[in-house]
């Protein structure tokens, strides 16, 4: 579903991402872990077309995001780490805009919008201007905007930040539901507990390089210790 091959990006002399390669398979939830400044957001921004890689290839459902830009963008929905949304429109207008872009038929969009609004408890605020939303509400509206599209792959950068525990639980359920339909989820997180519970496979990035990749069991085997993800993460990133 998502294929990253030999991807690199530098900011001046600093190598933010250094020749990383991995794959996200169909129907799986893939966690992308790493300490602050490890290269997670840079990688995600290159995948979604917000940054140009210095080298390497990104295939999204078979489309090269440097060549078939529009086709590649049609395969995913992205939620950034800081959900800045158009402030002077209502949440409902924002969702309608997303539906317009992805050409979702009118009847279907109403059903989908209502379903996710109820799930994430945002129905009462949907006709308010986004400028009046809290951080968590903005996060919810952007998440709903990505879920209503039902894309082949969801790409989230720290999706749980700002969400209350109930909403976090709902999001985890919705991600599993999304993958059960044969779609995939690729997300970065600091919350190792979430990654441990939700992800089928994880990659750990540190100083721009992938230092561990696979299922939790595979990673445990490779380092030869039967530890929690938190301990594995701390051990690998402190080296």
């Amino acid at each position: 579903m998502l294929k990253i091959n030999n991807l690199s990006k530098s900011y001046g002399l600093k190598k933010a991402v250094n020749k990383i390669s991995f794959e996200v398979n169909q129907g799986e939830i893939f966690g992308f872990l790493g300490p602050n400044g490890a290269g997670k957001t840079t990688t995600i921004k290159m995948i979604v077309g917000l940054l140009k890689p210095d080298e390497g290839k990104i295939l999204i459902n078979g489309f090269d995001n440097q060549i078939n830009i529009l086709d590649a963008k049609g395969q995913f929905c992205y939620v950034p780490d800081n959900p800045e949304v158009f402030e002077k429109i209502t949440g409902y207008d924002y969702l309608q805009f997303i539906c317009d872009v992805f050409k979702i038929p009118n009847k279907e969009r109403e059903e989908r919008i209502n379903y996710y609004l109820e799930k994430l408890l945002l129905k009462n605020d949907i006709n308010s201007y986004i400028s009046g939303y809290s951080h968590g509400m903005k996060q919810k509206i952007v998440l709903i905007g990505s879920l209503i599209v039902n894309p082949k792959i969801l790409i989230f950068d720290e999706p749980m930040v700002g969400l209350d525990p109930k909403a976090q639980h709902t999001v985890k359920e919705l991600l599993a539901q999304h993958c059960s339909k044969g779609n995939s989820v690729f997300f970065s997180t600091h919350v190792l507990e979430v990654a441990e519970k939700v992800c089928d496979r994880v990659a750990i990035i540190n100083n721009g390089e992938i230092i561990a990749l696979g299922t939790l069991d595979e990673i445990r085997k490779s380092i030869g210790k039967d530890e929690s993800l938190e301990n594995i993460f701390l051990e690998l990133t402190e080296k």
Binding site: F97, D100, N106
Partner: protein
């Protein structure tokens, strides 16, 4: 005082940081290349600026010959006040009400009046910089040609530096009171916009009337004689007359013509008066502003509309959907609305005011009408050119990406084709331009009809002018979008920055001036060989071709430019 200085230094650094500029220049190749282009654009503007200074000088010499030297300084003071009215109102709103730093500074242990005054002085520095390029040359030319003394030079420069403070304080107080009063109304943004337009037009009207009164010769023969004698013998006659309406002028008068003690005393009083006004402002800011600011913040977080019961669907078309968001944002952010949409009302209103004020006697009207009838073609071509250039002067298109700021990730990561992006972003500036052109042409046609011109002929000319200006606006709007696509200003602290402190707007204006010059040169070349009808057809062909090329350049660069935009 230390609080004030610390915050002032911090805010000044944030707004005018040369260190940041040079650091980025050193480390960012793309920024460096773009800066070189901008510097070249500035260098290109120097000869034009020199020509303007030359014109100011010529104007002064002709004024001096007619014993109107002091009127020249009155003009400079009027210009200074006009610039402050024009630029500062929304600058104050955006610096005080929509700036992130007030949110950061409010919880800190700093007296609100200290950080609010430091914000006021940042605005003052901007105003002073604008005045240095526009108003200061008037003062220098006056001083050089009137051979004023050295101490008068010093007092004049001090007075010039102080000149923006009092009008700026007055505008700030009016703004704070207006914002506070309109807070209780439902459609407060619309009300604020209407109040500002009314205030602006009234002030311009008032200034023009004063100017008119100053120049009108009294009807009483005795007073006429006195007027004539004053004109010849009194070098500061108009400054004295104008000070009856605008007392600050008195300080300028003493600074440039008084004895050493008069000059020193008047400048000292001027300094004290400015301090007094600033103190008054600090009281207003501390009491009225803080209350209305907190109320405004409270409104923002609690503002909820009633849930709609009727189902609403989207626009359907992606381009239209983009245009809808663009238009709603322009309309709902007062700073954007004022800088982009209000000019559609403001400029025609000013045109009506001035055309009525400038109506002279019957003889003059007849003369003007004959002049118009003999040069009808060139008049309407000039109107078409001015209307066309307005399309690029209006910053809607040249800030289309910049205004998105931190939300730019949405449009950039969605699967929107280049075609939809372009038409979506073109629609709002184009509709604004069409409305502006229609309003302006109707006013021009009716003004001419009022003065006795044939309305049906003028309507035909008006329609051709509209079509030509519409077609000619397209390439300029495409170029504006290219400029902002190539170097958007995505990181800003308050919404004033992407429209008022954005170099793209300036570059677009320079492109507009170059376009205007080239079209004028093309006209002067063609008129030697061709009839006017053929010239108009050639203008249509040239502009359609330009639009085609500009669109293709924009289309081919679009998708890849979105990736490297950040």
């Amino acid at each position: 005082m230390t609080d004030f200085l610390t915050t002032f230094r911090f805010l000044l650094k944030q707004n005018l940081s040369f260190h940041y500029f040079f650091n980025r220049l050193k480390n960012d190749k793309k920024y460096r290349n773009m800066s070189i282009i901008i510097i070249l654009v500035f260098l290109f503007c120097i000869p034009s600026y020199a020509v303007f200074i030359g014109l100011f000088r010529e104007l002064f010499i002709s004024f001096q010959t007619a014993h109107l030297g002091s009127l020249y300084l009155v003009m400079a003071i009027i210009l200074s006040v006009f610039l402050i009215i024009f630029f500062s109102f929304f600058q104050i709103i955006s610096y005080f009400y929509f700036s992130d730093d007030v949110k950061i500074l409010t919880p800190m242990p700093i007296k609100p009046s200290h950080y609010l005054l430091s914000k006021f002085f940042v605005i003052y520095i901007w105003e002073l910089l604008i005045s240095m390029f526009t108003v200061l040359p008037f003062f220098i030319i006056y001083a050089v040609y009137e051979n004023i003394y050295f101490y008068q030079w010093i007092m004049m420069i001090i007075s010039f530096v102080l000149l923006p403070i009092i009008p700026l304080v007055v505008i700030a107080i009016i703004t704070v009171v207006l914002m506070s009063l309109t807070n209780i109304f439902k459609s407060k943004d619309a009300l604020r916009m209407a109040s500002y337009i009314l205030l602006f037009v009234s002030l311009v009207f008032f200034q023009y009337k004063i100017y008119d009164v100053l120049l009108t010769m009294p009807e009483d023969p005795e007073k006429q004689l006195e007027f004539g004698q004053n004109l010849v013998n009194n070098s500061t006659f108009f400054l004295e007359k104008f000070s009856a309406y605008y007392p600050i002028t008195k300080f300028i008068e003493f600074a440039v013509s008084g004895s050493f003690f008069e000059s020193l005393l008047s400048t000292s009083i001027f300094i004290l008066l400015c301090i007094g006004f600033v103190y008054l402002l600090s009281i207003v800011l501390q009491s009225i502003f803080m209350k209305s600011y907190l109320k405004e913040q409270n409104n923002r977080t609690t503002k909820k509309k009633k849930i709609r019961t009727n189902k609403k669907t989207g626009v359907g078309n992606v381009g239209l959907s983009i245009a809808k968001i663009d238009f709603l944002t322009l309309l709902r952010v007062p700073i954007y609305a004022f800088n982009t949409l209000s000019v559609v009302i403001l400029i025609p209103v000013l045109l009506i005011v001035f055309s009525n004020l400038m109506s002279g006697g019957n003889g003059e009207i007849e003369e003007l009408l004959n002049l118009y009838k003999n040069n009808r073609d060139i008049f309407w071509l000039s109107v078409a050119l001015i209307l066309t250039i307005f399309s690029i002067m209006n910053p809607i298109a040249s800030t289309t990406f910049s205004r998105e700021g931190k939300t730019n990730w949405i449009m950039r990561s969605l699967p929107i084709s280049a075609k939809d992006h372009i038409w979506g972003r073109l629609l709002t500036p184009l509709i604004t331009q069409v409305v502006f052109m229609i309003v302006m042409l109707i006013i021009i046609i009716f003004t001419l009809a009022q003065k006795g011109s044939n309305i049906s002929t003028d309507i035909v000319y008006g329609i051709i002018t509209f079509l030509l200006a519409f077609i000619s606006s397209l390439p300029l709007l495409f170029i504006s979008i290219i400029i902002d696509l190539k170097r958007p200003m995505l990181k800003w602290e308050n919404p004033q920055q992407p429209v008022k402190q954005n170099m793209n707007v300036l570059i677009a204006i320079v492109v507009g001036i170059i376009y205007g010059t080239l079209m004028y040169l093309l006209y002067t070349l063609l008129k030697q060989f061709l009839e006017i009808d053929l010239i108009i057809i050639i203008f249509f062909i040239v502009n359609i071709s330009l639009a085609y090329f500009a669109y293709n350049i924009l289309y081919s660069k679009f998708e890849k430019s979105l990736v490297v935009m950040d």
